[in-house]
């Protein structure tokens, strides 16, 4: 009786997760192992060519490298800007800290296409920045700010920055201040205290922030397209282009290259920062 009741709870959500999440992803992998076909979604022959084509083609490799480069710069900026902001937020009194985090959460709820459009309105030829520069007589002709890799980096960095700040701030706010006081009592200066006590203890927040920022950068097709234009394509743009060209096996293989990058980075972060080691000794 009790087990049938429990099964009634589990069955509907499990069915949704299996049929519309696990099955399609497995099917996508299956398709990526097939030759292309002009009449069907994919050909009958099993092949690894979709992967060897992508990994052996300098065009694709350039795009993969560019994707990793852009993601690395965004991640680096998010860390360098996000950490001090998180520190500032974590030191606020509880009520104000809540307000600051709410202010950071709100932009995350606004659709990314709206936030990307905000940057388009700022950076386009007749946009706010160019108009201001002209009115201040700093430039004669509008600068080409849009459709550059830098535009993608700036926009995506600011779109994803709240994830990094919130992740680190939550860890720092939960941190026992007595560790820092102990370090100072033992004679460590502020820099040493930060490097040897605060920073290592905040690695779980840094790790989860870094993962979110990196994974969301990989998928950010709309922001990349609106700000990068046709000349600054990244891996995700190639997936979209393959889909619109009905090259299903190619699109599937590219999707799994992207997934491999995501998994590889996750493994790297877990190995480098080992966020798990802090929790045991934390409080």
């Amino acid at each position: 009786m009790k087990s049938t009741w429990a099964w009634f709870l589990l069955a509907p959500p499990l069915a949704l997760a299996l049929v519309f999440f696990v099955v399609p992803v497995v099917y996508l992998f299956w398709v990526s192992l097939h030759a292309a076909s002009t009449s069907e979604l994919y050909g009958a022959a099993l092949t690894l060519r979709n992967y060897t084509d992508v990994l052996g083609d300098s065009f694709y490799l350039t795009i993969v490298r560019r994707t990793l480069g852009v993601a690395a710069v965004i991640l680096g900026l998010c860390l360098v800007i996000g950490y001090p902001v998180a520190y500032f937020v974590a030191l606020l009194p509880p009520r104000r800290r809540m307000l600051a985090i709410l202010l950071l959460l709100f932009p995350l709820m606004v659709s990314n296409v709206v936030r990307a459009y905000g940057w388009v309105a700022l950076l386009e030829r007749r946009g706010v920045v160019n108009t201001a520069l002209r009115d201040l007589h700093l430039t004669d002709a509008p600068l080409e700010l849009l459709y550059t890799p830098s535009a993608v980096v700036v926009a995506l960095m600011t779109i994803l920055l709240p994830y990094m700040v919130i992740s680190i701030a939550n860890t720092l706010a939960a941190l026992d201040r007595r560790y820092e006081e102990a370090a100072q009592a033992l004679g460590a200066g502020p820099v040493r205290t930060f490097l040897h006590v605060t920073l290592p203890l905040s690695t779980p927040g840094v790790a989860s922030g870094a993962l979110l920022v990196f994974l969301l950068t990989l998928s950010a097709y709309v922001t990349i397209t609106l700000l990068g234009g046709p000349r600054s394509k990244l891996l995700v743009s190639l997936i979209y282009d393959s889909v619109t060209a009905f090259q299903w096996p190619r699109a599937a293989a590219l999707a799994f290259v992207l997934l491999a990058l995501a998994l590889g980075f996750t493994a790297l972060i877990l190995a480098l920062l080992r966020p798990g080691r802090v929790q045991g000794s934390g409080r």
């Binding site: 589990l10 001090p84 937020v89 296409v113 108009t131 700036v154």
Partner: protein, 271 residues
């Protein structure tokens, strides 16, 4: 113990304050610009605007495509948030008191769409739908359910785990069956979590891009995708600022509702 106000401390505090000002400006200004631009009286955005006008909002609701996309987004968000929250609640009730490897795996499965690259899910679902001949709206709805379910699951799981099991046992020892206990004891107690989960799932569905990008069809488009294609094919015009402001306004209203009903604390803990 009092902190010594050495030069490094003040420098550190200054640096943090400066970074915070810069970061908040970079995060908030692009959103504010959109809202200000939406009230422009002219064809092009001037800052500061000479006067305020609602002509672009009139234009927005006058465009059939935009209006339909807005209505579809609202319908889709209402339906998918409801389904996702019900399913997420069921999963959370099942897992709240269970331990072990299988249950840990199930929990990861239910949370996975939060971190899984949604662009891959979009392509995968499109391919599946093409193979089985899924109607566009149903396919879109199910995709939004998959993306929204983790939010309902996570908030309800937190509420359900905080629940005192003695309360449910009391209900059962007084003769209530499992269904009556669920409806009369458990559900009223976890209700704030359910509501917060629903609002999150609504917000996520209302702004969803990466799966909708592939799954919308001719005449069946969501507002974010309509904004995106308008920007791509008609260019950056101020009607987009109005459309974006409508999106932002709805989120503001929902956040206010969350704050009223369940409090800010739950939002800050939910991510």
């Amino acid at each position: 113990m009092k902190r010594p106000m050495t030069r490094a401390w003040t420098a550190g505090a200054l640096l943090r304050a400066l970074a915070t000002i810069v970061a908040f400006a970079l995060i908030v200004v692009p959103i504010l610009i959109v809202v200000v631009a939406a009230f422009s009286p002219n064809d092009y955005f001037q800052f500061p605007p000479p006067r305020l006008s609602i002509r672009w909002f009139v234009e927005f609701f006058g465009l059939v495509n935009m209006r339909n996309a807005f209505l579809l987004s609202v319908e889709l968000a209402l339906a998918s948030a409801t389904i996702a929250t019900i399913l997420g609640t069921l999963a959370a009730l099942f897992l709240a008191r269970r331990r072990g490897a299988v249950n840990a795996l199930l929990q990861s499965l239910f949370l996975a769409p939060l971190v899984f690259p949604t662009i891959i899910l979009g392509v995968a679902l499109l391919l599946l739908y093409k193979t089985i001949g899924m109607p566009v709206f149903a396919g879109l709805l199910l995709a939004h359910c998959v993306v929204g379910m983790p939010y309902g699951f996570r908030t309800v799981l937190a509420s359900a785990q905080a629940l005192d099991p003695a309360l449910e046992e009391a209900g059962q020892s007084l003769g209530a069956g499992p269904l009556r206990t669920l409806l009369l004891v458990t559900l009223p107690l976890i209700w704030p979590g359910v509501l917060a989960g629903w609002l999150f799932a609504f917000i996520v569905s209302f702004g969803e891009l990466n799966t909708a990008l592939f799954l919308t069809g001719p005449g069946i488009t969501t507002l974010p995708i309509e904004i995106f294609s308008y920007l791509q094919f008609q260019g950056s015009q101020l009607v987009i600022a109005a459309a974006s402001s409508v999106q932002i306004a709805l989120i503001v209203i929902l956040v206010a509702v969350i704050e009223r009903v369940v409090g800010i604390a739950r939002i800050t803990r939910a991510r």
